[in-house]
Amino acid sequence: MPEHTFRLNGEQVTVDVADDVRLLWVLRDVLGVTGPKYGCGISVCQACVSHVNGKAVTPCTVPVGDLDASDEVTTIEGLPDTVGEELHPMQEAWLEQDVSQCGYCQPGQIMAAVALVRRSAEEGRDITDDDLDGIRNICRCGTYLRIREAIRAGAAHM
């Protein structure tokens, strides 16, 4: 089987798996990194959102063969290390607002939120209601309101 190598949460990893296996399953089933969740497998629910080179992707739609050795994959497990803290400011905001109910979607929500704040910062602007309306992540527990509050609070500390 072909070998694939990429960077995962700051470490170089190599896996032996077919090219077209999506990154989500490489993370969860091969590497045992279970923070990114399955909710649909077709990039609708966004429960698996993680970062590749700092940008949000849905790993359920990334064939592992598309990754280069230097590509940096960050899952929720590696998010705190990107700021050198025990928790990322967005995770702190999530705790402060007591956002999670069942918690299943929250890793994806947090990773999507961090990418959104980065994008708006690059564009030199604050998070708007339209930005928040545009978040596609599903929360079946309906924590949307606290998510919105947490993103605004987290953005202030990023």
Partner: protein, 769 residues
């Protein structure tokens, strides 16, 4: 409840309860383990039946609470040498926050910090009989007293041990934050006293519980105890567990509902696919086991299977609707001389699918089996699993990991039974997961229903209220059934079919309508159904509230004032008044926007909702890729009186979630049945509320404590749905009669149903943002 007959005392809010002495046990053991005493259901029932503070009607919660009581002595609080306190909760945590609220009950009575209490979920424990069923918002109601009793006994026992240790008087000791001190220099962590506090023999003891004026934990906002685990990705759900050799497994399913496999054309070919280890035909389809779920999906898509017919082949929405119309029970004639308002409402199939799909891990051996699955009725599940794989129930161990949501779905155990069958057939452990498309198309649904309402009145005076609810049968075979059947003999006045009894128990009188009758008739048992959050109420109450609005309109009365007059209960009126005040009922609104107001009493709790909706064309026309927009609910004010909110912050979260559910049910969420299958296959098809449908303003008002905890987990769904529907009707000038409102417009291109699951996209990196 047991009492030694002390005089009743008045608690805040004017609710009179007996200050009672509760008895329980210190159990034999090397460490300190305590439990509440058992209470015979019959005696408890007799006591409560005579208690005038009850709402006057028995509801499902009374039945569940009574059914749980005889075994409440079997759930134990344990104090450890590291000063932590542990408790294995015999309920499912599915996001509703019961591990946190249970930790609070223990922390309160034991005087330890909440962070020192570890609440885990118990394995299936058949000896608990009816005391391990999570549903009907009953957890806190049924565990409130037993859990506190066990904790209070532990506290008492620790204090006695400390008195002995310090040579001090019991009365001079203070237990605070897990430390006992005597005021003259002695102090000890509770963990250092557990050995001394333990008992060689099981001893019966009695204890007083704190009264509400002494509470310092109960009633204070508390963040969830599992929050850090959740935000770091460390929280483990079933699919995250690492069980040796339990490889990913999925099932190729039939194109129509409940179709079964006849034969597989290309087993050998699929076995050659990368990663695939096993292919096995089981009763629900063809199971594939592989190194990764991605390879399972590829294999499921590659399988060529011929299928036997399903259970509802050929049926579409309109056929079911016709069947419902034909089965509607007759209305009684209106009283002579009265006028009536009369309307029939339609509610299409809905999906209670949680974000965590149906899933389970199974390791079935020749003489035993071990199962892991988020189950709300694990004892019943264990029996069903044992039957399926031909083992004695006692040979089956069922673990209950935390669930990624439920909304009623996890009352059933479809994936657990299927995983057990697959593991047995394959002869290896499996980690079985349903694809989202499976979950939507073959999973449990909230059944399609019609509800006819007639209100007979003489001017402003309502003479009678009649409702004829006709529904595709709701499958209740997960344990509610056993509870109700077992308790039926204890409850006078209940007769009729089981579904009828259940329906009556789950519906309560909200208004003074004079004479009231609500009847259920069920048809067609071919669908996979179950209880969805708030069960019948989102439909029954929505229909009722719309008709209250219609009557108010005919009488030229204000919808709020009219409701207020129909409410006789003070708590109910207070909640309604509160939303009217906070939500500024009657304020000037632009055209095509409006307010709606609704009320519901259920499971000892009161809930009133005011919603505002924007139906202006520019709002309806908002464009979101693959998303449903339409009218937007712009504001919701919800007032809730649950008697006593153990954790107000958790209750607020539950009510916020109920807001999203109610909006979805009113506006966007339904399944379309066509030719024996549902068209929906993803979250962009089955349209639960998304951020762009979320009200920018939500205010949850928690009413002052008025007694002991009532139901809280699902209470808001029905009145939110009703208030949104009422607001919509007032905004567009026509009462809606079919739900969700957008059901008539299919908002997506249906995905194929052969193969049963969609192809995973491969353009992820191109869409990085």
């Amino acid at each position: 409840m047991s009492t030694d007959g002390e005089a009743p005392v008045s608690e805040p809010g004017g609710h009179v309860v007996g200050r009672r002495r509760f008895f329980g046990y210190v159990l034999a053991g090397a460490t300190l383990v305590t439990a509440a005493g058992p209470i015979p259901a019959t005696a408890a029932w007799a006591e409560e039946a005579q208690n005038e503070s009850l709402s006057g009607s028995v509801d499902l919660n009374d039945v569940m609470t009574l059914a749980a009581r005889p075994t409440s002595n079997l759930i134990k609080v344990e104090v450890h040498e590291d000063s932590t306190v542990s408790f294995a909760l015999p309920r499912a945590e599915t996001g509703q926050g019961i591990t946190t609220s249970t930790a609070m009950l223990i922390a309160e009575e034991l005087d330890v910090p909440v962070s020192q209490v570890r609440v885990t979920l118990a394995d299936a424990r058949p000896e608990l009989v009816f005391n391990q069923l999570t549903g009907a918002s009953n957890t806190t109601i049924s565990t409130y007293t037993p859990v506190r009793t066990a904790a209070a006994i532990a506290r008492r026992r620790l204090l006695e041990a400390a008195a002995d240790e310090f040579g001090a008087d019991l009365d001079d000791l203070v237990l605070r934050e897990g430390v006992i001190s005597d005021g003259s220099g002695h102090s000890a962590q509770i963990g250092s006293l557990v050995e001394k506090a333990a008992s060689e023999n099981t001893e019966e003891v009695s204890v007083d519980l704190k009264t509400s004026e002494d509470f310092s934990v109960i009633g204070e906002p508390q963040n969830r105890i599992d929050a850090v685990e959740a935000v770091t990705g460390r929280k483990k759900f079933t699919l995250d567990l690492d069980v040796d050799d339990a490889l990913p497994t999925m099932v190729c399913r039939a194109p129509t509902i409940n179709g079964t496999p006849e034969s597989v054309v290309n087993t050998d070919e699929v076995l050659q696919m990368p990663g695939v280890t096993d292919v096995a035909t089981i009763s629900t389809g063809v199971a594939v086991r592989a190194e990764t779920f991605g390879q399972c999906i590829d294999a499921v898509r590659a399988l060529e299977v011929s299928w036997e017919p399903g259970s509802v082949d050929g049926l579409s929405d309109e056929d079911v609707l016709q069947e419902l119309q034909e089965a509607e029970l007759p209305m009684v004639p209106a009283p002579p001389g009265s006028s009536t308002v009369d309307e029939t409402f339609t509610f299409y199939f809905r999906n209670n699918s949680a974000l965590e799909p149906n899933c389970a891990i199974a390791d079935v051996r020749s003489d035993s089996a071990e199962i892991w699955s988020g189950l709300k009725a694990p004892i019943v599940a264990r029996g069903a699993i044992a039957e399926k794989i031909g083992l004695r129930p006692s040979a089956v161990t069922v673990h209950v990991p935390e669930s990624g949501g439920s909304f009623g779905r996890k009352l059933f155990f479809d994936a657990a039974v299927e995983a057990a069958e697959a593991s047995k057939e394959i002869g290896k452990p499996v980690k079985l997961m349903w694809h989202r498309a499976d979950d939507t198309r073959q999973g449990r649904t909230q059944p399609m229903a019609t509800s006819r309402v007639r209100i007979s009145h003489d001017g402003d005076r309502v003479l009678r209220y009649d409702q004829r609810h006709t529904s595709v049968a709701t499958d209740l075979s997960h344990g509610f059934g056993d509870v109700v059947t077992a308790m039926a003999a204890e409850i006078p006045g209940l007769d009729g079919t089981f579904a009828q009894v259940f329906f009556q128990l789950s519906q309560a009188r909200s208004y003074d309508f004079g004479h009231e009758s609500r009847l259920l008739n069920e048809v067609n048992r071919g669908f996979n159904t179950g209880s969805m959050r708030n069960v019948y109420s989102p439909n029954v109450v929505c229909a009722r509230e719309l008709m209250v609005d219609r009557l108010a309109q005919e009488l030229d009365r204000d919808p709020y004032e009219f409701r207020r007059e129909l409410l006789t209960d003070e708590r109910a009126r207070a909640a309604l008044d509160r939303v009217a005040e906070v939500g500024e009922w009657g304020r000037e609104m632009p055209s095509d926007t409006a307010q709606g107001i609704a009320f519901m009493h259920e499971y000892k709790s009161e809930c009133a909702v005011l919603a505002e909706i924007d139906c202006r064309q520019e709002t309806i026309d908002r464009e979101v890729r693959d998303g449903v927009t339409g009218p937007r609910v712009t504001k919701v004010v919800l007032a809730v009186d649950v008697g006593l909110a153990v954790n107000p912050r958790g209750l607020e979260a539950q009510m916020q979630g109920c807001v999203m559910d109610g909006i979805a049910l009113a506006m966007t969420s339904s399944l379309h049945l066509e030719d024996g299958h549902f068209l929906e296959a993803s979250w962009d098809n089955y349209f639960y509320t998304r951020q762009w449908n979320t009200p920018p303003e939500i205010e949850v008002v928690i009413m002052p404590a008025s007694g002991e905890p009532g139901g809280a987990g699902e209470l808001g769904v029905a009145p939110v749905k009703a208030a949104v529907a009422c607001a919509y009707g007032r905004a567009v000038g026509a009462m809606p009669t079919s739900f969700p409102i957008n059901h008539g417009d299919l908002s997506f291109e249906p995905r194929p149903n052969v193969p049963p699951v969609p192809e995973p996209p491969s353009d992820g990196l191109d869409n990085a943002e």
